[in-house]
Amino acid sequence: MERITIDPITRLEGHGKIEIFLNDEGDVANAYLQIPELRGFEQFSIGRPAEEMPRITNRICGVCPEAHHMAATKALDDLFDIEPNETVKKLRELFYSAFYVTDHTVHFYALGGPDFVLGPDADPAERNILGVIHKVGVDIGKQVIACRKRNHEVIAMLGGRGIHPVAGLPGGWSKAMTEEEREQIEGFAEENIDFAEFSLQLFHDLVLENEDYVNLVLSDTFTHQTYYMGTVDDDNLINFYDGLIRVVGPEGEELIKYPSKDYTEHIAERVEPWSYLKFPYLKSVGWKGFVDGKDSGVYCATPLSRLNAADGMATPKAQEHFEKFYETLGSKKVNGRYQPVHHRLATHWARLIELLYAAERMLELAQDPVITNQDVRPVVTSTPTEGVGSVEAPRGTLTHHYTTDENGILTDVNLVVGTTNNYAPIAMSVKKAAQGLIKGGEVSQGLLNQVEMAFRNYDPCMSCATHSLPGQMPLEVKIHDADGNLVETRQQYID
């Protein structure tokens, strides 16, 4: 029996590993995605003051520290039972919108986009952000850099630091906004909208106009029918900062909608002895293994799943693109809402629609008259006990759950993070890509690229998922013959 090991250079550094086993016919018998590391934030946070969590847990991930900062801050609201005032909520959401713009920009242009901009078969040496700039031109590259720059400026302005912000407090925010800052952010938001529309046009021209890419997006290799999770507002429209968590089934029917504090009623996490990362699933459906369909509790929490779980977008331009997305991909409306799109590579498109929404939302908030109120830091006197907070991280619903003693010293911490939600679907996508490519023992030269693409659309952040890994996943594919001899080694970094 032949075995293929897709191994992050891990034996050297340990960041993630795929084991593919072939049967006697040389077809894929099974594939395992292993996560070999653990940092243990849930344990070493115990004993710390709860109010430090926004500044401790952002170190789970330097790519999306704002998401952990915000989930932690919202968990503190609940822990201390204090409802933030309107200004605090909007200030936080404004900060969070700027973060979404920069984060989704990075993924499209530097991480996921190169596969489309340069093509899945491009030279790996060119398949990076510099290659993208060479292809689309330095002017566009400079626009990407400028977009990151202005939004990180907003993050630093409102959060105190450009990476690992510090401003979150129970019921509050440590810094109010000045009118000068507001005006500047308003201008940035307008530029962001232009940039998002430009990016959607680029996607249209490069991908949707290219028949090969469209066929790839629609191919069965990159399709899974699962449940979809996302946070929605009172009108069932996408919201990243706050709302109820909604889960819809493969045919679009609503399964559950719940406040994050009820997460343990709906989500459970399985442990497998071969990975340090747990597998969440929907309790009411049950764990049926790594399989698709209505009877399997596997769910997905990504830009695609947020679109699928919502009835629409809360801003006008994003809504137009939302409709175009479903119409183009052949989704039909049932009971007034589009049926889910199951093509995983469409996640890239969904991400750009979210980019436009974040930019539009940022402008709305920057123009809101309450945003510059100075009353943002309440004195909190309540006795803390237990609190749960969640946000939509770019890579999925992120939940922080804290329990403390009466002095607010943590006695228990549980974190269900963005990418962890997607562990089972990512594992399934990897297996399906392997099955699609490996037939009769022939390992296609395209295997690595295709496996990467099966991963990449989820924008997996193993740093978040394991509270241990960096945002990039270096892979090494080792192919062994039936006697266990190493035949070939190929390596690649995938993010």
Binding site: T10, R11, L12, E13, G14, E19, F21, N30, P36, E37, L38, G40, E42, Q43, I46, G47, R48, P49, E52, R55, I56, R59, G62, V63, F80, V106, L130, R148, H152, G159, G160, R161, I163, H164, A167, G171, G172, S174, A268, E269, V271, P273, W274, S275, Y276, K278, P280, K283, V379, N407, G408, D412, N414, V416, P470, G471, Q472, P474, T489, Y493
Partner: protein, 341 residues
């Protein structure tokens, strides 16, 4: 890779969050200049180089390696040794490799407690058979293996020699760009490099020296949690009883956190000449506590000071928030006084 005479730059993450890589990207348009000055030799975050490439390089092939992340397991250590061997200049980049940073808070607990908490004892688990990840598992198809992680989180210079330290969680972009320019000048024009072992990209004094908040000789009788008080916008936070590590932390960030009304947590590590950041902070705290007056008896004074100290939440996890690996203690020992590895 083409041999064009440009200096070779590497950046690698061990047990890290990726924020150090993002901090480099946050030099924004200057990243294009870095691309012009340097040839990337290894940079998993943004380029597709392989470890086998690194293994194939001759010793000292890489001119500068920016190594971030703590040493959490044997693979982190192996990569540190490999990159040390291949690099002329090894920079401990960011707080994890400099002093241990947040991951080193693990040194206040144990490997066993961590596994128990994550896999056996939390509210969303479905693990009735108490399955724990195993270093070797036999599946129907074959064996699957996982590495083991260390009991103690180490900083980079506890496993390899380090030439320079670039502090911060993460380092601030203007400091990063300044350091890269110095390095580029040394490599391309023969400009002098700082003495080996130097801390670069930071000041030598304390964060307080770059903080605009007004300092008085005001003594305090208790500490406040950051949500218990609305701090005066102008006055020193520590003097208002809000824990701020500025006195015990190296300058270089520009006092970002105190500027937005939050106390410094010490991510730049101890100031020049200070070995143990937590011990330094303890003496700083003692100096701001109201010492009573001459009419007080000694036991009365002691009570006063003890009462003030008792209002500090989690002193060990606060004073060593970022520097546990760098502390004299390094980790909490077990009953037998053992704790290493």
């Amino acid at each position: 890779m083409t041999e064009n005479g440009k200096p070779k730059l590497a950046m690698y993450w061990a047990s890290s969050c990726g924020g150090c890589e993002i901090s480099v990207l946050n030099i924004h348009e200057n990243i294009l200049a870095v691309d012009e000055i340097f040839d990337l030799a290894f940079f998993p975050c943004i380029a597709d180089f392989k470890v086998s490439d690194v293994e194939g390089y001759p010793d000292n092939y890489i001119d500068v390696c920016l190594f971030n992340g703590a040493i959490r397991n044997s693979e982190n250590e192996h990569m540190a040794q490999l990159l040390r061997q291949k690099s002329k200049v090894m920079v401990a980049y960011g707080a994890c490799s400099h002093v241990g940073s947040i991951p080193a808070l693990s040194n206040l607990t144990s490997r066993e407690a961590t596994l128990k908490k994550v896999f056996l004892d939390n509210p969303s688990l479905d693990n009735p058979h108490e399955v724990l990840p195993q270093t070797s598992v036999h599946t129907p198809e074959g064996e699957l293996t996982l590495p083991e992680f260390y009991h103690t989180v180490k900083k980079l210079d506890q496993v390899v020699d380090v030439d320079y330290y670039l502090p911060g969680c993460p380092p601030e972009p203007p400091q990063i760009w300044a350091v890269l320019q110095v390095v580029a000048g040394a490599l391309t024009q023969g400009d002098p490099l700082p003495p080996a072992g130097s801390v670069v990209g930071a000041g030598n004094s304390a964060v307080c020296d770059e903080c605009d908040r007004v300092k008085h000789e005001k003594a305090i009788d208790r500490f406040y949690r950051p949500y218990e008080i609305q701090p005066d916008p102008e006055q020193c936070l520590l003097e208002q009883g809000i824990m701020c590590m500025g006195l015990a932390t190296r300058s270089g960030c520009g006092a970002l956190c105190p500027t937005v009304g939050m106390g410094c947590r010490g991510c730049y590590g101890p100031p020049a000449g200070v070995e143990d950041q937590g011990a330094k902070m303890l003496s700083a705290v003692a100096s701001v506590i109201a010492a009573g007056d001459e009419t007080m008896e000694e036991d009365e004074l002691e009570t006063l000071i003890q009462e003030a100290v008792d209002t500090i939440a989690d002193p060990s996890g606060t004073f060593y928030r970022f520097s546990m690996s760098h502390s004299i203690l390094q980790r909490v020992k077990d009953a037998n006084g053992k704790g290493a590895a």
